[in-house]
Every structure is written in C-alpha cells, then in structure tokens.
C-alpha cells in the first residue's frame, strides 16, 4: 500500500492477519468414516426436514433420510452406510448447545454408496430439471449462509439474471477450504459453474478470488481457459470482501438496494463450494454428504483441510487430526470474524461448517472494554456505511428504535467495528442483542395488535348480537301488540257483526 493510498484510500473493511498458511498449502485429506454420524434435520435456512427412515433401518451412503417440507427447505442424506440408531435430540453446534433434531447412524465401516444417477450431458436438461436435482441433492449455500441453492436457482429463472458471481474470495482469516477446493478441484468447480449458468440463464460468470490466493487464481484460470463466458477476477484482499453486497459492488459496480435481493439487480451469487457440490450432484448424481473444511488455530496440532462426512462429531475430527497442542481458549465453528463459539466438542459438523478453529487466548486478544473515545475507527471500517458507535450508544441507553433509525437492520454482523475498536467494545454483541430484542418487540406488538383486533371483533359481535336480540324482541313485541290490536279489532268487529265472523272461520280453513 502506497503512502497516498494509506492516507487517502478507501477505508471500508479491515485487513486482519490471514493465518491461512500453512493449512492452505497442504492438500485436502479425507477423513476416515467415524463410528457414528449425527445428521441434524436442520442444516439450512427454512423448514426442518422430515425423517423418512425408522430406527433400526439400514441405510446406504447418499440415501435420503429426511425430506424437505415446505417451499424453503432441504433434504438431508446419510453421510455413510450403516444403521439408524436414533432419531431425536442432540446438542446443537451453536453457542447455546440447545438440542436439535438429528438422525444418528451407526456406521458399518463399509461406506457403501447408494446407486447414483449421473447425467452425462447436463445441458440437455431443462433449468427446472437441474433445479429439481440440486434440490434433491440437499445442496445449500456452502459459504455459510446455507440458503437452499435450488430455491436460489428458481429465483434466477423468475427474475432476469445477467451475471452469476461465484464467490471464491474467502475473506475470513484462518479458513482456506475454498482456496484448497479451487486449487485441487478447479475443473469440477468450473463444470458446476457452467451448470448453474445454464440453470439460471445468466450470460456471464465472474469468479471473485482475493488476491492473497495466487495459486487458486492460477488453477481456476487454467480450468476456465476454454470458456469465455467465465472470467476469473482477482479482488483485493480485504475483509469482508466475501460478503454478497460488497462483492457485487466490487465485481459489477452495482449496489443492491437495501430492501431488495441481488437478483433484483440481475445478479446471483453462489459460493465455489456450492458450485462444486452442484457438479457432484449433476455429473455424478451424488448428494451433499461431505464437505471440505479447515481445521486451524494456534491450538491445533495439525492444521489443514479435511473432507469430512456431514454429522461427524468435532471431537472425532480432532481425534483423527492429531488433537490439540497447548490450551485452546475457545473453539469456533466458522471463521474468527463471524464464527460462533462451540459449547463443547460433542457437536456435529454440518453443511455450513467451513472450519473449526481452536484459538489460543493470545489469538483471541480479548480484554475488558474501555469507554468509547469516539475515535471513529468503527465508522471507517464498517462496510455498510453505518455508525456503529452511535448505534451502540443508543442501544446502551435502551433506545432501540433510535438504533433502528440509524440502520441497525442493515448491519451484516461482519465484526469489522469490534475488530478495530481501540476500547475493545463488543459492538457485535450489542447489535445481535438489539436485533433480537427489536424483532421480539415487533412480534409482541403484532400479537398485541391481533389480540386487540380479536377483542374489538368480539366486542363488536357481542354488541351486534345484543342489538339484534333487542331488535328481535322489539319486533316480536310489536308483532304481539299488532296481533293483540288486530284481535281486539276483530273482536270489536265480531261484536258488531256476528255472521261474517263465521265466514272468516270458514275462510280460515285450509283448502
């Protein structure tokens, strides 16, 4: 970085030490079959998958064991062959460690695949057929968002997509699984990209790779050389370059409106891992049963990238990979900037797990927070153009609507603000808290409004009923009075002229 750029350059984002090597320089290793896999039913955004196997049933690797339910959902598959031994709750790979529904499979150690249906020429399939196969393979966004990929493909068909952005930027420090995938399996990724292009109708694909991964850029350039619709675009290494909105601006110059989706500006973003999974699903007919993830951190004995069956316990992963050296201050699922702390190691890896980190206290560099000195570092670092210091001041004063007005909902929780904060204020925690509290308040308000509506409706109904009752009573009374009057009149008339009364009686007889 030149002096001028240092003083006058663009400032959003941060440049953390990437810690990617040496893990990034070792080839991907395949993890052997663990004794048991614990496959959660919800590894994606959307509705829980519904189990379609029973305890005691034998399953093959790649067999669907729970199917998608609802529009936004994804099936899950057995990640090895064996017997289903339990369907029930296990601790979630989440800081809370709260239970999640999962299917436990005791491995038979044979790792036998189910019969797969490869497609020789994917371009003979219609986009709808491709989306259907992608959905059936249980593919979700592997960059960490875990949004069902088929839904995104279908979305692409509805809105006019011009550009497919393939996200290989991998801006989180420590993680190198995408880097490694691009180096080792570039051809598969490019094949997957071409399938996605076909499925979305996009005309061009731009693969964004941060310039700190020259080997990956080279490998992808070679693999994409004969396809002129695919461009490999090195982007400056700057966190969070891998965030959708930032990468779209960097590669296309388009800004996604805050209330819109990328598809609305003609762009769709898929991760390189997702592209590879699409390739596996279409060309080989294999569903998503394993993924490449990075094991890294100062307390890890053998950092590297491993292809791990979905549902493997983090503990088993460590056992195979040489365990720990030194003391880990905390275990993280994901990268250090946005990852979450694991409650313990008895949790499974899931589709969205890009890495498991064992960080030492020195790496985490946690400290007691000091008061804010309004230095503005967080404002310069924020990739969304927010005012983190102002928002946190409002949140501290419990003025959540005030924080909301400042753009709290636009916060992507990337952590840049807290990373640069000289006072070590846990800004992201403030924002998580406020977002949760705001949506809770909103839900409460909706509930309140709907119960208010119900109460009003009830009062209205009661009032109407009593009114109707009163009216009916009045009517009946009027009728009675009228009848009485008529009877009286009739009696009077009868008294006056007796014979017609007989005639009336005879007339009154039914014919």
């Amino acid at each position: 970085m030149g002096i001028l750029e240092k003083i006058f350059g663009k400032h959003w984002g941060v440049h953390p030490d990437d810690h990617k090597r040496p893990a990034a320089d070792l080839p991907i290793k395949r993890l052997p079959v663990p004794p048991r896999v614990y496959v959660p039913l919800s590894q994606h955004v959307g509705a829980l998958a519904r189990p379609i196997v029973m305890v005691g049933q034998d399953v093959l690797k790649g067999q669907c064991i729970a199917e998608a339910q609802g529009n936004i959902s994804s099936p899950v598959h057995a990640s090895t062959s064996g017997r289903v031994v339990a369907i029930g709750e296990i601790p979630a790979p989440h800081p809370s460690g709260l239970p999640v529904q999962a299917i436990t499979i005791a491995s038979d150690m044979e790792d036998r695949w189910i019969e797969c249906e490869p497609v020789a020429d994917p371009f003979s399939l219609t986009p709808q057929e491709i989306a259907k196969r992608v959905a059936a393979a249980g593919i979700v966004g592997l960059g960490g968002a875990t949004f069902p990929s088929a839904v995104k493909l279908a979305l692409g068909l509805r809105s006019k997509i011009r550009t497919l952005i393939v996200n290989g930027s991998e801006c989180e420090p420590y993680l190198s699984c995408d880097d490694r995938l691009m180096r080792d399996r570039a051809e598969g990724i490019i094949k997957g990209v071409r399938v996605i292009l076909h499925a979305t109708g996009a005309r061009e694909a731009k693969v964004g790779i941060e310039d700190n991964k020259p080997e990956a850029i080279e490998a992808m350039r070679v693999a994409a050389a004969s396809f002129k619709e695919i461009t490999i675009c090195p982007v400056p290494a700057r966190y969070p370059m891998g965030s959708d909105r930032q990468l779209i601006v960097e590669l296309t110059g388009k800004e996604v409106p805050s209330d819109a989706r990328a598809a609305d500006v003609g762009v769709i973003v898929h991760n390189v891992g997702t592209a590879y999974a699409v390739h596996e699903a279409i060309y080989h007919g294999r569903p998503l049963v394993s993924r490449v993830m990075t094991l890294n951190g100062g307390a890890v004995a053998q950092p590297g990238n491993y292809e791990v069956p979905i549902g493997t316990l983090v503990d088993d992963l460590f056992a195979f990979c040489g365990g720990l050296k030194g003391t880990a201050d905390r275990f993280i699922m994901g990268g250090p900037m946005m990852g979450s702390v694991l409650p313990h190691l008895q949790v499974p890896v899931v589709k969205g797990t890009a890495g498991i980190l064992a960080l030492t206290a020195a790496e985490v560099a946690e400290r007691e927070p000091d008061p804010c000195i309004r230095c503005g570092s967080c404002i310069r670092a924020c990739p969304m153009g927010l005012l983190p210091l102002e928002m946190s001041a409002h949140i501290r004063a419990d003025d959540l609507p005030g924080a909301d007005d400042l753009g709290l909902r636009d916060c992507i929780a990337c952590g840049c603000c807290a990373y640069v904060c000289p006072s070590h204020i846990p800004l992201v925690q403030y924002f998580y808290h406020a977002k949760g509290e705001l949506s809770a308040r909103q839900r409460a308000q909706l509930r309140q409004e709907s119960s208010k509506k119900l109460v009003a409706a009830r009062a209205e109904r009661l009032e109407r009923e009593s009114r109707e009752k009163a009216e009916a009573a009045a009517r009946r009374k009027a009728e009675r009075d009228a009848a009485k009057k008529a009877a009286a009149a009739a009696a009077a008339a009868e008294a006056a002229t007796a014979p017609p009364s007989t005639a009336t009686a005879i007339d009154g007889e039914p014919a």
Partner: protein, 363 residues
C-alpha cells in the same frame, strides 16, 4: 448443559480476533508525534519551559486520580489521555508561566473539562482548550507574556536554579527578553493605527519562520516539526487528513483573499499558517476524537469552520490568537453536525430510503 455453562459461553461474541489497537496506543503515538516539537521548545526556552511542562502534566494526573478516587471508578491513568491533555495544555502556555498557571490549568482541564462530563469520551469540549481559554480570560497578562527564545545552550539562558526562581516566584520578565508574538505585535500596532505594511517592516517585528525560532507558546512555534508529527499520525492511522486539511484551508483561503485585496490590512496566508497555534491546532487539537464529528464530511465542515473562525478572531477579534476559541466554538457545534451529517448506508440513499431497483434495460 447447565445454565451457568450456558451463560458463560454466551458472553463470547464474535469477532474472536482483534486488530490490536488500544486507547493507550493511540495516545502514545500522539505523544510520540509531539515529542520533536516539545524537545525543540525545551531547547529554545530552556529550563522554565521544562518546569511548566512537568507541573502541568503532574497537575492533570493528580486531578484525574482524585476524581476517579472520589467517583470510585476504575483508574484510567494508564491510558495516557490525562498525560496528553496536560502535554497539549503545556505546549500552549507561555514558556515562562508561573507554577500556579500549570497547576490551575491542569485542574481546570481535567475536572471541569473532562471529569464533570463523566470522564474520557464524554466531554463536549477539548479539555486542554477549556483550560487554556479559562486561563487566558482570567489571567490575560500572565498568559501573554512571551519571551525571546534563549536556547538552553546559550550563556544568557536561565540555568536550572534560575528557572526555579522564574517558575516559582514569577518575577517580572525583564524588558530585554520580553517579546511579542507576530500576531500580538501586529494587533497592538494596528490598534495604534499602524497598518501591516509598516508594522511588519519595523525593526522589532518578529519574522515568521518554518523552523520556529520565534517568541510564542512553549510548543506551538516549530511548525515543521509539528507538521512532521502530524504526518506521522496520518501514516499510522491515528488521525485522517480531513480535519487538518480543512483547518489549514479554513485559515489559508480567507487569508489569501484578504491579503490579495488589501495587504495593508490582512496578513498573508503564510504568516497565518506559521503563526500561533495553526499547525498544532490543525493536527493535534482539532483532531481530538471525542470532541470532533465522526463522519468525514462532518470533519471537513468542522475543520473548515475552526480555521475560518481562527482567521476571523485573529483579524477582527480582541485577541491576537483565536485557535482555542475557534476549537471550543466548533466543539459546541459537533453534536449538531453529527446529527445532520450521516454517512450513506450501502443500498440506501443519503436520506436513508432504499435505492430504487434499476429497470431492466432490454425489457
């Protein structure tokens, strides 16, 4: 999993990494940046300057310690902010100022300028400037008693023992070494009806100089050294260019126009930039994090008006130097600027509305 373990893991929010910056690191860098100009001031004005420097900082530290004891909060002496406040105040004092100026200044800066607002990060006004203005308004004679530079290695410079006498008993400054700053000289002459062309040409007129060998405050005059310190702060990312450039532009632009129109009445931009607290103020005082706006556009507005007000006060005001007043006035405007100047959020207009979804061109 037990509840206690649950709450224990929940208080570990992301990110799980930190860039390594800290309040004390920023303060240390600012002090480092001030060091050359400070040492130059020590050399130029000798032992009395060193005395007042030590006394002022000591007073600030004592005041900070006292307040935090009384309020029973965690001591923040280690963050270096109280030292920096005292340092900046000392640099803006006359080098031969008596001891009680330093003590009183330190107490005003820390107690009235900072702690009554709630301590670091809470104050509305720059503490060092609050103290300087309070002293200047209360003790105008003592606060404008400038001396001719007598470098510490020259025979006429006061020795250490003499310096103690100067600082502790504050005798009248002998006429032989009393001097006026350039701004003070021209202001006095102008009030006697002598215009700039004549007052600057007079034999006793101080000359502006980049090196800073001129009468003035302890640490304001070495413009080049201060500029170097400022560049160091820019390069290490402690400050950004917006406020310093805007302040200097705010002084220089009206000075250029005025001087071009009537050189007999308006000092040149060069004289303005090299006099008084221009450089110190632009890089070290107006850039105070706590009391300046937090957006770049806000900082440009803030800085420009600090400069402009400085020029206005120097040109038409009752005081020869206006930087401290200008900074305080704009400190008061900072919340207003921050209220109305906000950065544009990605995907939104400046007004905060979502951007329009672009129309498909071929459709």
């Amino acid at each position: 999993m037990t509840t206690s373990a649950l709450s224990e893991t929940l208080v570990l929010p992301s990110p799980h990494a930190h860039g390594g910056s800290s309040v004390s690191r920023a303060m240390t860098r600012v002090q480092l940046a001030l060091l050359p100009a400070t040492l130059f001031g020590f050399w130029m004005f000798g032992w009395p300057g060193i005395n007042i420097f030590v006394i002022t900082i000591g007073s600030c530290l004592a005041a900070e310690l006292l307040c935090q004891r009384l309020m029973q909060v965690r001591s923040s002496l280690g963050d270096g902010s109280a030292i920096l406040t005292g340092w900046l105040l000392a640099l803006s004092l006359p080098p031969w100022a008596p001891w009680w100026i330093g003590v009183l200044g330190g107490l005003i800066a820390i107690i009235l300028g900072k702690q009554v607002f709630g301590g670091i990060g809470q104050n509305l006004f720059n503490p060092a400037m609050v103290a300087r203005v309070a002293l200047l308004v209360s003790f105008p004679v003592v606060m404008t008693q400038w001396v001719v530079p007598q470098p510490i290695n020259t025979p006429s410079a006061p020795g250490f023992v003499d310096s103690l006498r100067i600082t502790l008993s504050s005798p009248a400054v002998p006429d032989a070494i009393a001097s006026a700053s350039l701004l003070g000289h021209t202001k006095t002459e102008a009030s006697r009806g002598i215009d700039l062309l004549h007052s600057l040409a007079a034999a006793n007129a101080p000359a502006p100089s980049w090196a800073g060998l001129r009468a003035g405050s302890l640490g304001e005059s070495a413009s080049l050294l201060l500029l170097g310190g400022g560049l160091f702060l820019l390069l290490t990312g402690v400050i950004t260019w917006h406020i310093p450039v805007a302040v200097l532009a705010g002084i220089a632009l009206p000075a250029l126009i005025g001087h071009a129109a009537n050189p007999a009445h308006y000092l040149s931009a060069g004289v303005h930039l090299l006099s008084g607290a221009s450089i110190l103020g632009a890089f070290f005082i107006a850039t105070d994090y706590v009391t300046s706006p937090n957006t770049t556009l806000g900082q440009l507005i803030f800085g420009f008006f600090v400069g402009l007000l400085t020029w206005i006060i120097r040109t038409w005001g009752g005081y020869p130097e206006g930087m401290a007043f200008a900074v305080l006035l704009m400190n008061a405007m900072t919340p207003v600027i921050d209220r109305f100047v906000k950065p544009r959020i990605l995907g939104r207009t400046r007004a905060g509305k979502p951007l329009d979804i672009p129309e498909e061109k071929e459709a």
